[in-house]
Amino acid sequence: MSVLLAFAAAFLFATGTWMLLQRRLSRILIGVGLVGHGSNILLLMSGGDGGVSPIIDTADPSEFADPLPQALVLTSIVITFGVTAFLLALGFRSWRITHDDVVEDDVEDRFIARRHETDQAIAEEELAERDQAVEEGRR
C-alpha cells in the first residue's frame, strides 16, 4: 500500500479510458488491457503491504502477503485474457466484413434521433384530426 501504486493504478485507468473512447476496436482492446492491469493493482492494494509468498512452512504466516487478493487477481488475469481473445476475434470479424475495425455509430439510433421531427409532424397531424373531432363534438 503506497502512493506510488495508487498513482500507477490511476495512470493505467486514465490511459485505458483514453483508449476506450476511441473508434478503433484494436485501440479499445488495448484500453481494456490497460484498465484490466489497473484494476489488478487495485485488487492487490486491497491486501495491504506486500510480504513473502504465502506458502505454508516457508515463512512465518505473519509475514505472508495477503493470499486472498492474489486469488482474486489470478481470476481477473484469466478473465481479462478471455475478454481480450473474444474482442480480438470480434475485431478480426469486423475486418473481414468491412476491411476495417472501426466501431461505427449505430445508424439505427441516428435514424431514430432524426425521426424525432418526422414523428412529431405525423403525431401533430393525427392529433389535429382528433382536435377537429372534438370541435365537432363541442358544436
Partner: protein, 794 residues
C-alpha cells in the same frame, strides 16, 4: 366472499379459454357468476340489514400488516345488488346484441365477468390496499373491454385514453390511501371510521384520494375518457360506463366522506368539482346528436350529482345519493340498452337520421320514455323519488357553507337533465329527423324478446320503486347507517307532502319543458356560447396536450440519450462509476500512506507508465500491442516484488499468449490507424481520462485506509490457518482457488469456455461478400432518402 371472487375469476378465464366454441352462449355461462352472487347476497341480506355485517379475512402480506379483509355491510350489499343485478341483465341483453360469430366475443364475455369480479372486490374490500388493487383491476378490464375491437383505431385510442387517465388517477389514489393508512395506523375502513386520523399529511392524502376518485368517476376536468369510451359495444357501455365502474369513485368518496368531510378542504373540493361536473355534463349532453354520447355526458352529469350528494358528509343528503345510485343504475342502463337496440337494428344512433319507428317498436319506446322520464325526475318514477330526496336533503340539512349555492346548481343542472332527457325521447321518436337523410328506422324490424326483455325489467323496476319506494327502505336505511353509524335515516316517500322540495321539482319540470319547447333557440345560444368559450381548453384537449408533451419529451430524451455513439456511452458510464463514488471517498482519504514500499517498485512503475503512455500514443497497431505487453511484464515484476509468485507466473504466460494473439490478428489489419474524427473531441477525451484517473486515485487511497481501521481477524488469516488442515495444501493461493473458492473457479472456467466458443465462431472463416465490400455508415446514410446528417453528428 372469496368464493365469489374466485367464481368470477374461474368463469371469466374459462370463457376466454373456450374461445369460439361457445359463441353467443358465452353470455349464458357468464350469467352464472352474477346469478350466484345475487342469490348469495339475498341469503345474507336479512342479517346484514339488521346491522350485522359479514366479514372474511385472509392474511396476504402479514409482514406489512396487509390482509385482505372483506366486509359485506348494507352499503356494500346495495352496490352488490347493482353490480350483479345489472350484470345479470346485461348478460341476457348481450345474447340479443351480439351476432353469433362476432370476433373476440368470448374474450369480451370473459373479461366482462372478470370485471364484475373486480368490481365486487372494490365494494367488498374493507382494506384500502385490497380495494386499490381491485380498483386497478377494474381499470385494466375496462381498458380491455373498450379496446375489444382491436382492429378499430378509435377503440384503441379510447381504451388508451381511459387507462391513461384512470391509471394515473389510480397512482395518485394509492399515494393518498397510504398517507391516510399510515396516519390512521390501520388500512381497514371500518376501523378508520371509528377513529379518523387528522393532521397536515391527512389533508394532503384526502386531496390525492379525491383526485383518484374523480378520474375514475369521470369528474371534470378528467371526464374526457368517458365519452370517448362510448366506442365500446353498448352492453359494455351500459354496464361499466354508466351503472358500475364509473361509480367506483363515487363509492370511495361515499365511504370516506363520513370520516373526512370535515377535514381539510374535502367538502369544498367535492362541492366545486361535483357542481362543475354536473353542469358541464348537462350542457354538453344537450348538444349531442349521437344518442349514446348524449347518455354518456348525461352520465358525467349524474356522477357529479352523486358526488354532491354522497361526498359532503351529511347523512340525510347521502341517503338521497344512495337512492340516486339505484335509480340511476336502473334508468341509465335501460336507456343504454335502448340505444343499443336502435343502433343494432337501424345501424345508426344519430337523432338526425331517425324518423320514428313502426308500431312493433312500441315496447322499446315505452321503455325509453319511462326511463328518460325517471332521469328527468318526473313523478311517479324512481328518479323523481331520488331527486326529491336530494332537494329535501339540501333544503333541510344543508346548513354548511356553500350548501345553498350547491342547491342552486343542482336545480339548474336538473333543468338541463330534464331538457336532455326530453331530447333523448324526441330523438327516439324522430323529432330531429332530417328529411334529407335516408330513412332507416321505419323499416327496421323489431328486436326480439331476449333483446328487449332486460330493459323492460329495468323499466318495471323504475316504475315499481317509484310508486312504492318503501320497498327499498330497509336497504337504503341500512346502507346509510353503515356509512354514518349515528344516523337516523328517514323513510322514502313518493309524495312527502306539499313542501319546498316539491315546489323546486315543479320549477325544474316547468323550466325543462320550456327549454324543450324552445330547443332550436337553445341550440343557437349554445352554439354561440361554444364559440365564446372555444379558447378555453376542454378536458379532451388537455389530455391531447399532455400526450403531445409526453411524446415530445420522450423523443428528445431518446435522441439525446440514445445517440448511437459507443464512445459517448462509455464516457458517461465510466465517469458516473468513478466520479460519483469518488466524491464520497474524497472525504475518507485521511493521512497519506508511505510514498514507496520498495525501491524496486519505482523502476517497475516507471516502465509501466512509460509503456502505457506509449501504447496510447503510437499509431502503429502492433507497436501498441507490444507496449501493452510491456505493461503486462512490468505487472508480473510487480507481483514478484509483492510476494505473489503464482500471479507472476500466470501473468507471464498469459501476457505472452495475448501478445501472440494480438500479432496474429493485427497483422491482417492496416499497420497504423488513419485518423478519423471521433465522436468526442480530443480535449474532451483527455478531460474524461484525467477525471477517471483522479477518481481512481482517490478511491485507491481511501479504500486502503479502510482496511487498516478494521481490527478483527481478516478472512485471509482464516484461510492461511485452514490451508493445510482443511485444504491439504501449502500454497495458500492455490488452495483458495481450487478449494475455498472452488465454485468461483468453476464459474471462471465456464466464462472462459463461453468466450472461447464465441471467439472461435467469430474467427471461423465465414462466407466473404461477393462484392468484396460491404456498405459502411456513410454509404448507408447516403443511400436513403433521408437528408444527410448535420456535420457535428457525422
Amino acid at each position: 366472499m372469496f368464493f365469489l371472487l374466485l367464481l368470477h375469476l374461474v368463469i371469466g378465464i374459462a370463457i376466454v379459454a373456450a374461445g369460439k366454441m361457445l359463441g353467443r352462449r358465452a353470455f349464458l355461462v357468464a350469467a352464472i357468476a352474477p346469478l350466484v352472487t345475487l342469490l348469495w347476497a339475498a341469503a345474507k341480506a336479512p342479517g346484514v340489514l339488521d346491522g350485522d355485517p359479514v366479514t372474511e379475512s385472509f392474511a396476504w402480506i402479514p409482514q406489512l400488516g396487509i390482509d385482505i379483509d372483506m366486509r359485506l355491510d348494507a352499503f356494500a350489499l346495495l352496490m352488490v345488488a347493482v353490480i350483479s343485478g345489472i350484470g345479470l341483465l346485461i348478460c341476457i341483453y348481450s345474447m340479443g346484441y351480439f351476432s353469433h360469430d362476432k370476433p373476440g366475443l368470448a374474450r369480451l364475455a370473459g373479461v366482462l365477468v372478470l370485471f364484475a369480479g373486480a368490481m365486487l372486490g372494490v365494494v367488498l374490500s374493507d382494506q384500502l390496499i385490497a380495494l386499490f388493487i381491485f380498483w386497478e383491476l377494474t381499470s385494466v378490464t375496462s381498458y380491455l373491454l373498450i379496446g375489444n375491437d382491436d382492429t378499430n383505431p378509435r377503440a384503441r385510442a379510447a381504451s388508451m385514453q381511459a387507462i391513461f387517465i384512470t391509471g394515473a388517477g389510480g397512482l395518485v389514489l394509492l399515494a393518498g390511501l397510504i398517507i391516510i393508512g399510515q396516519a390512521g395506523g390501520t388500512y381497514r375502513m371500518s376501523e378508520l371510521l371509528a377513529d379518523p386520523p387528522t393532521g397536515g399529511a391527512v389533508n394532503a392524502g384526502i386531496v390525492l384520494v379525491l383526485i383518484g376518485a374523480f378520474t375514475k368517476s369521470a369528474q371534470a376536468p378528467f371526464s374526457s375518457w368517458l365519452p370517448a369510451a362510448m366506442v365500446a359495444p353498448t352492453p359494455v357501455s351500459a354496464y361499466l360506463h354508466s351503472a358500475t365502474m364509473v361509480k367506483a369513485g363515487v363509492y370511495l368518496v361515499a365511504r370516506l366522506a363520513p370520516m373526512f368531510a370535515m377535514t381539510g378542504s374535502w367538502r369544498l373540493v367535492v362541492m366545486v368539482i361535483g357542481a362543475s361536473t354536473m353542469s358541464i355534463g348537462g350542457l354538453r349532453a344537450l348538444r349531442q346528436t349521437d344518442l349514446k354520447l348524449l347518455l354518456a355526458y348525461g352520465t358525467v352529469s349524474q356522477l357529479g350529482f352523486m358526488m354532491l350528494l354522497l361526498g359532503v358528509g351529511e347523512y340525510h343528503i347521502a341517503e338521497a345519493g344512495l337512492v340516486l345510485i339505484l335509480a340511476h343504475a336502473a334508468f341509465k342502463a335501460a336507456l343504454f340498452m335502448v340505444v343499443g337496440i336502435i343502433d343494432h337494428e337501424t345501424g345508426t344512433r344519430d337523432i338526425t337520421e331517425l324518423h320514428g319507428f313502426g308500431p312493433s317498436w312500441r315496447l322499446v319506446q315505452v321503455v325509453a320514455v319511462v326511463s328518460a322520464a325517471s332521469m328527468a325526475g318526473i313523478p311517479p318514477l324512481f328518479g323523481f323519488v331520488a331527486k326529491e330526496k336530494a332537494l329535501d336533503g339540501y333544503l333541510e340539512h344543508g346548513d354548511f357553507a356553500g350548501a345553498t349555492a350547491v342547491l342552486v346548481v343542482i336545480v339548474l343542472a336538473s333543468i338541463l337533465t330534464f331538457a336532455y332527457s326530453a331530447r333523448f325521447v324526441l330523438g327516439v321518436f324522430g323529432a330531429f329527423g332530417d328529411v334529407d337523410r335516408p330513412v332507416v328506422s321505419r323499416t327496421a324490424h323489431a328486436p326480439g324478446a331476449v333483446f328487449v326483455g332486460p330493459s323492460v325489467v329495468l323499466a318495471v323496476a323504475t316504475i315499481v320503486f317509484g310508486i312504492v319506494p318503501g320497498l327499498l327502505d330497509d336497504l337504503v336505511e341500512g346502507a346509510t347507517t353503515a356509512l354514518y353509524p349515528a344516523s337516523e335515516p328517514k323513510a322514502l316517500h313518493l309524495f312527502a307532502g306539499f313542501n319546498t322540495a316539491l315546489l323546486l321539482s315543479v320549477v325544474i319540470i316547468v323550466c325543462g319543458v320550456l327549454l324543450t319547447v324552445l330547443r332550436t333557440r337553445v341550440t343557437g345560444v349554445q352554439r354561440r356560447a361554444s364559440e365564446v368559450i372555444r379558447p378555453i381548453p376542454s378536458g379532451e384537449q388537455g389530455y391531447l396536450g399532455v400526450l403531445r408533451g409526453i411524446s415530445a419529451v420522450a423523443n428528445r430524451v431518446t435522441a439525446t440519450v440514445q445517440n448511437g455513439s459507443l464512445p459517448i456511452y462509455i464516457a458517461i458510464i465510466i465517469l458516473t462509476v468513478t466520479l460519483v463514488p469518488a466524491a464520497a471517498f474524497a472525504t475518507e482519504i485521511g493521512p497519506l500512506p508511505q510514498w514507496v514500499e520498495e525501491p524496486a517498485h519505482v523502476v517497475l512503475v516507471a516502465v509501466m507508465v512509460a509503456a502505457a503512455l506509449g501504447a496510447s500514443i503510437v499509431r502503429h497497431r502492433i507497436a501498441a500491442a507490444l507496449m501493452l505487453g510491456a505493461v503486462g511484464y512490468a505487472m508480473a515484476g510487480l507481483y514478484v516484488a509483492r510476494g505473489a509468485p503464482d500471479l507472476a507466473l500466470t501473468q507471464f504466460s498469459i501476457e505472452t499468449l495475448s501478445t501472440v494473439l494480438f500479432v496474429l490478428v493485427l497483422r491482417f489489419l492496416p499497420r497504423s490507424w488513419r485518423h478519423r474524427a471521433p465522436s468526442i473531441a480530443a480535449p474532451m477525451r483527455i478531460a474524461v481520462a484525467a477525471a477517471v484517473g483522479v477518481g481512481i486515485f482517490i478511491f485507491a487511497l481511501s479504500a486502503g485506509n479502510a482496511r487498516s481501521s478494521v481490527d478483527e481477524p481478516s478472512m485471509s488469516e482464516v484461510m492461511v490457518e485452514q490451508s493445510l488442515p482443511k485444504g491439504k495444501g501449502h500454497n495458500v493461493v492455490n488452495v483458495i482457488l481450487v478449494d475455498f473458492r472452488g465454485w468461483d473457479t468453476m464459474g471462471e472456467i465456464t466464462v472462459l469456455l463461453v468466450a472461447a466458443i464465441g471467439a472461435v465462431s467469430l474467427a471461423r472463416p465465414g462466407r466473404r461478400r461477393s462484392d468484396d465490400h460491404a456498405p459502411v455508415f456513410e454509404e448507408i446514410l447516403d443511400a436513403g432518402d433521408e437528408p444527410a446528417l448535420p456535420e457535428p453528428l457525422r
